[in-house]
Symmetry: C2
Subunit: 319 residues, 2 copies
């Protein structure tokens, strides 16, 4: 059942003992949402914990200050920034019992009993900002850090086309409440480990161009990942590299997962809808960023995604 | 004479035939200011031209749409984002006759007859936004592109500590007036030529660490620069790379100039004042970014700047 912000706030007010689920391979938006909601509910005198199926990258540890650790038996499951319970890894079954989902993905599968979705919002944290205001809990520095983190990270620091005037207005509000934006932006956008720099260099050596340079692909194997000291976040960031190269409309990064699965991440210009290309292989995402998986080896993964990307470019150009 | 926004607007209303000077090695802020002011004055029925002593990088060509080219004899010289007429290259003497300067540098030398400065603003374009409002000229997409460009480029896309809530509020306003923010951010922050990527890779191969990883240095020779297809903007951006590496407090980039001079650019954490280190060699800059030159070969340049940087780190750590 689709609900609005007021209804979501009513539901949160009437319930207690919350387990807040954040998606696997956590990013700043799901974590920002999770810790902001957890801290808000605790400030209302309720019990709440925020949980992620995967380890949380160290750089996000500043978010933990928004809430305290509490032990209790869960009564109410809420998912934040989780479009599909498949994105919950080990915790999929818990997610399937969700009473409420707060999300900004067009592809939300409506799995929860109540779903609050704003697909036009750049970040789920923009929606969380509205929920917190509807709950009447005043912002402080710690909650502001959470909401700022989601709005900044999901927009590439207000850089991407999904950014709206509202995103900036919320960021300005969070800064007024003391959000440590310079630190947040430094750790999320500038800071690189020595391992990451090495990884980027090696990944760039694999770059190949197709369709006159409009499609570019890099490949990252497990043996490369294992040879450098990096975390999942470092590996994830590689997806943005090919599309940053002049003339590239579809940037692809293929990453070998430990399971032998090959995950393709696409970043596209306005010429090509990334989610549509990925949907052909059972994946999804947004217009400018999508992902999908392949299970028949690297060569097959490369062949399939390159072919699909080149076809999408030719179709867009009317060729 | 220091004046306020209202007085600057009055002066602009009462005069005509404006020559607007932008600083040499132009960036998005001086260009955004210059073309915004030029377009605004033209929309008021006045004659105005915006001029820069150096060539304007191709990526900024979209700014030209804010104003039309006009030929006339100059009656009124205005400088924008120009702290000192030394920054006007060939046009220094024209700058010395400036009737008005609109700027945001604390170091402004007060060279103009009237100076409107807001040192607390991240971008001169934030001040230009106020001037345009005071002039009563409504924003359109082209003016909005100019003002957005300055606010975004001078803050690293709202990333740096100089960003304020006001910066975000102005960006939001400009987006409402149609600023093509996704394109502007893409060309200014994401887009890299294939030559630039190659240059970055080669420069990173030269990286060396000192003081337990707190000082890092890369070296860029003319033969490397000549071997790839890059512009001055690509070479300039290398200066930011070493400081982005985890643990680095002083990031140094030494670049060989065509003259044989070796220019060292420093980027520092709060531990070290970059301008102070550079001042030891006749250079200068800001607390977090500085530069200085050496004339006795590469080895000497490296030895001197590494020694000074390591000393500054040890002193800051009380060693």
């Amino acid at each position: 059942m689709k609900i609005d912000v007021r209804q979501a706030a009513e539901f949160l007010k009437l319930n207690d003992d919350f387990l807040i689920l954040m998606h696997a391979s956590p990013d700043g938006d799901t974590l920002g949402c999770g810790y902001a909601l957890c801290g808000t509910l605790q400030r209302m005198g309720k019990r709440a914990k925020a949980v992620c199926p995967d380890e949380i990258p160290k750089k996000f540890e500043y978010l933990f200050a928004a809430a305290e650790e509490q032990e209790f038996e869960t009564k109410t499951v809420v998912c934040v920034d989780v479009a599909d319970t498949k994105l919950l890894g080990d915790m999929k079954e818990v997610g399937d019992t969700a009473e409420l989902c707060i999300d900004h993905h067009e592809t939300n599968t409506d799995y929860a009993k109540r779903t609050l979705v704003r697909a036009e919002y750049a970040a789920a944290c923009e929606l969380m900002y509205e929920v917190i205001n509807a709950l009447g809990v005043p912002f402080d520095k710690e909650l502001a850090n959470c909401v700022y983190t989601g709005t900044a990270t999901d927009t590439g620091c207000f850089k991407f086309s999904n950014t709206t005037p509202q995103t900036h207005l919320i960021a300005a509000e969070m800064m007024k409440f003391g959000a440590d934006y310079a630190m947040i932006n430094y750790v999320n956008f500038d800071l690189k480990t020595q391992g990451r720099i090495k990884l980027e260099q090696e990944a760039l050596k694999t770059i190949r161009y197709f369709e006159g340079g409009r499609v570019a692909i890099i490949t990252v194997t497990q043996s490369l990942i294992n040879s450098v000291d990096v975390d999942s976040d470092d590996v994830g960031a590689l997806a943005n590299i090919p599309r940053q190269i002049e003339g590239v409309d579809v940037g692809i990064c293929i990453k070998e997962k430990k399971s032998g699965e090959f995950k393709a991440s696409l970043r596209t210009s306005q010429l090509v809808n990334a989610a549509e290309v990925c949907a052909r292989f059972g994946g999804g995402g947004h217009a400018r960023a999508g992902g999908c998986s392949f299970f028949n080896g690297l060569q097959n993964a490369e062949d399939e995604i390159i072919k699909a990307a080149c076809e999408a470019v030719r179709k867009a150009l009317g060729k």
